[in-house]
Symmetry: D2
Subunit: 312 residues, 4 copies
């Protein structure tokens, strides 16, 4: 099936570009609201190192919550399984639960991919650093994963996030009240808002995800994380990567994935491919409308669902 | 790695039998409370048809909630995707949410594997039947899946379930108040209590799960369900199969699975194996303590995690 | 001010009869849905024994939840303060909380005036009785309080309540699961549905409430309850008597009161008057629209608010 | 009964001073933790102007949440009933609900006496002011109500509140996210922390409450608020003044009251008396243990419960 991959991807890209129903662009900050809903990009890097790009695969966009995959990886490298004393590993049930759940569970966020969990992880990664250094470390990690030194934060987006970040400030203060932040609230939030504002292309993102399809191995040599840790990050992406639509994404697409409100999704077919897709229009659950549809098509036509027998 | 499978399983069985920490047997009804915590069984049926049995793999036990996998399959066969108008596909967040969530979401259960969802599915499967006929249909389906005519309901367990079923009666009445049951409450509950009381062995259960590792195909020929439906049932088992420990099971084991309070777990390695394990002692989340540990060992040593690159 | 009372009441009745905005009649059972929204009755019995009737004060209506005041009084007579081990004394926060709250608080209803609490009280009053005897005892108590032997249950309403009582059946089964019902669910619910179906007139209801304005004393002689108990029942009516609009009723009217979905309200001005009002149209909170407005007028013009200095 | 008042109070004070079970002093900030649990003060000002002081009635303490009564009064004076678009009037159900409820109800706090509601009121009172001016206005109001120019903020307490105020910061940011704060979070919180740190004696507090027993009238002449507004503030104190023990306080004491975590309680007998009590040890609900008991005694022996017939 693999020799048809280029044709499959070209078809999907052509169809997605022609779609008229494209979802709704996020509007809570100007830097996201100005995105062009007609954009669509798709990048696939296979386990064998083949790269297939389609559409706007080389256009940068705000990765937003996709950054949580990489900050989680860094935090696990720093504190290992002790992280799970401060963050859970269960789906959150519903967006509604976000702050309810913190109240019920004494300030321990349900998983690392909801905002509260990612803020705790920012706190872990900030330890002993200033905000700038923590962000520098994350950028360096992404440059290492992608072999691409051009990845940067979009400062205008970071600034806008901070100005509209009252709900995240509420979460951070709330967890601090429970003793689940060790640094002051301000630099933790600054770090969090900066990580959300990282700009990457589909091509860069698919490269950054390669270690997750390769049992933790960097294609250039060495282990980024152990095979067990790679499996577990994939598991968390599958069960928790799309907020309260995680079950639906697993049901429809069947790949571990993490979405961002900028319209990007990173999806992993373990042993097969690292996939990044981008289209700014979102569906009712806040995930890229065409991105989700494209991945559903891709997984159906390639057999890349982890739930499929023929994915061998 | 496959030629070592017998040795791996023998090791696991020997270790689990020797374990002294065995969890706590469910005590809410006598028929479960009397189970011997020293029992441990494991059965693996591979995609190639190889069968490996260990420990008490031929001893019958109450499958309890594992039955929800099979009633879901039947209901999808009857009403197809219209089922999803009456039951969701998202993890429930927490055990606590069960009835809270019904109140918030107008009587629509979060997924088919929590009790409320399974009761709706009993209602679907009851349509046009008497309770006895609905249970007969389910038993016949299990006999067809296993090629084994000896599967039956344990009537004493069914009776005990009914006598202690006030919480399930509450859920059923509550959903009926929202119009999400079409039959009267009593026969729906009777049907539900009977399905929970089905007795099977690990060997039978692993055989019954074969279609889920084979993209829906019955090893004896023909499709039980379409490949897409098999993938989707696997996806639901992975995201929702262990109540509020589903995320943890995905994280630790990495296989779609469904547990029952009788101590059984059915787990699927798509394209590789159908696995059933049984040990009556439960962990704090209500899932088999040694069963979960055994599956974690098995998946680590076989590479059967769906999140692993080397599962090819 | 008291010598103007008749004039005040006549004015209110005339204005309420002329109102065009009359709320919405309860429609979940036929016996309530057929009520004429143009009906309005008001009855005042003063501490001195004066009786002032206005409008349809002698027309019978379904007292529904107002019965909870009298079953609470009976249950306190049977088990005293031990009742508070099984039912709380706090406002419920919101209608939404009804079953959520039971789940969080182990089957202990928040107060005796929400449905769950009243069902526990039915269970208390049922002890050692058959359903018919329990209802007989309640009817006898109401006849004693009113000196009126004509009070009866409307059997058609009781039957309809039972047929539409799935949500109450859910509550009862749920509490039974927590061990907070001592009798089987069916007779408890039968008793509850019958008490809701008692038919009384405003005149009868105002007479039945006399002991609550008189520190527990029956105007015909003797104590119905102790002065402390009368105060406490009044306190519960003020804080919990109007579901999630209890705060608003206290704010606007300032008298202890208990409403029913049939459009009746019983309100007490301690030391001053027992008041019953009836108009079938309900406001958004499920309380009589014109009944609430009439009481607000009455309390303003008489100084009967318990929060007023000039109520002396 | 009134001529015995001095004797009743002397008895209560003597008994409370002798009590060995005195509750637990609040410990979250040093300024409260250092309070002497052996202190007990009681002050009664009657409608006729009689003043009866007992125990430590002239010792200052931190009024904490009792300040919410006075900031509410000020805010109603500024914006009138428009306030109720931004704050509800219903009991909150439970402490647990505090932030859950905000999430469910779009950032509208349930009532003005939970922290979230009081923060909105600080925002209202801050409009057009700097923090210092807003606090100055409140202090001036208290000096006017008490005819006592010595009332001040304890700056050490205010500073401690700010340093431990993460949960309040979470609430404020959360409401700002919903658009229910019009000023920046920082000065609103600064204002809120300062009002909690006001120091008053029982004597001063009982004087400050006089307008609430006098239908809004200042004993020195003129109306502080209209009679209707005084009634309504009393109603809110009764239904919402003791967090999730408000129902119990109404049940046991039967007077509108507002407690503070410093161990003070202000209670009003409309037309009869304004009462302030102070004892630093708190009960499980966070209300003064001996203060509550003293008020229960007082109301029983004076007939001052608003639910009593003989309060005339």
């Amino acid at each position: 099936m693999r020799h048809d991959l280029k044709a499959i991807i070209d078809d999907i890209v052509a169809d997605m570009r022609a779609e008229t129903e494209r979802g709704t662009v996020a509007s809570y900050i100007p830097g996201l609201a100005s995105a062009d809903p007609n954009r669509f990009g798709l990048a696939v890097v296979t386990a064998e190192g083949e790269v297939i790009l389609g559409g706007d695969a080389e256009t940068g966009f705000s990765i937003q919550s996709i950054s949580k995959v990489f900050t989680l990886t860094l935090a696990l490298g720093k504190v290992g399984n002790a992280l799970w004393d401060r963050v859970g590993r269960e789906p959150s049930g519903s967006a509604f639960n976000s702050i309810v759940q913190l109240e019920r569970e004494n300030g321990i966020p349900r998983n690392p991919f909801i905002n509260a969990g990612a803020i705790v992880i920012s706190d872990v990664n900030l330890a002993g650093h200033r905000t700038g250094d923590a962000i520098g470390e994350l950028i360096n990690f992404l440059r290492y994963l992608t072999d691409d030194g051009s990845i940067v934060v979009d400062p205008a987006i970071a600034q806008s996030e901070a100005e509209h970040g009252y709900r995240n400030a509420a979460l951070a203060n709330y967890m601090r009240a429970f003793g689940n932040l060790q640094n002051p609230v301000e630099p933790v939030l600054a770090s969090y808002f900066n990580q959300c504002a990282i700009e990457m292309t589909c091509h860069q993102l698919a490269r950054a995800g390669r270690f997750l399809m390769l049992d933790g191995r960097h294609p250039g040599g060495g282990q980024v994380v152990s095979p067990a840790r790679a499996r577990r990050i994939n598991a968390l992406m599958l069960t928790c990567g799309h907020y309260d639509a995680s079950g639906d994404f697993a049901f429809s697409v069947g790949m571990p994935g993490k979405s961002g409100v900028g319209g990007g999704i990173l999806a992993i077919a373990p042993g097969k491919a690292s996939v990044a897709v981008w289209s700014p229009g979102l569906n009712a659950n806040g995930n890229s409308h065409l991105g989700t549809r494209a991945l559903e098509r891709l997984t159906t036509e390639t057999g890349w669902s982890v739930f499929s027998a023929d994915h061998n």
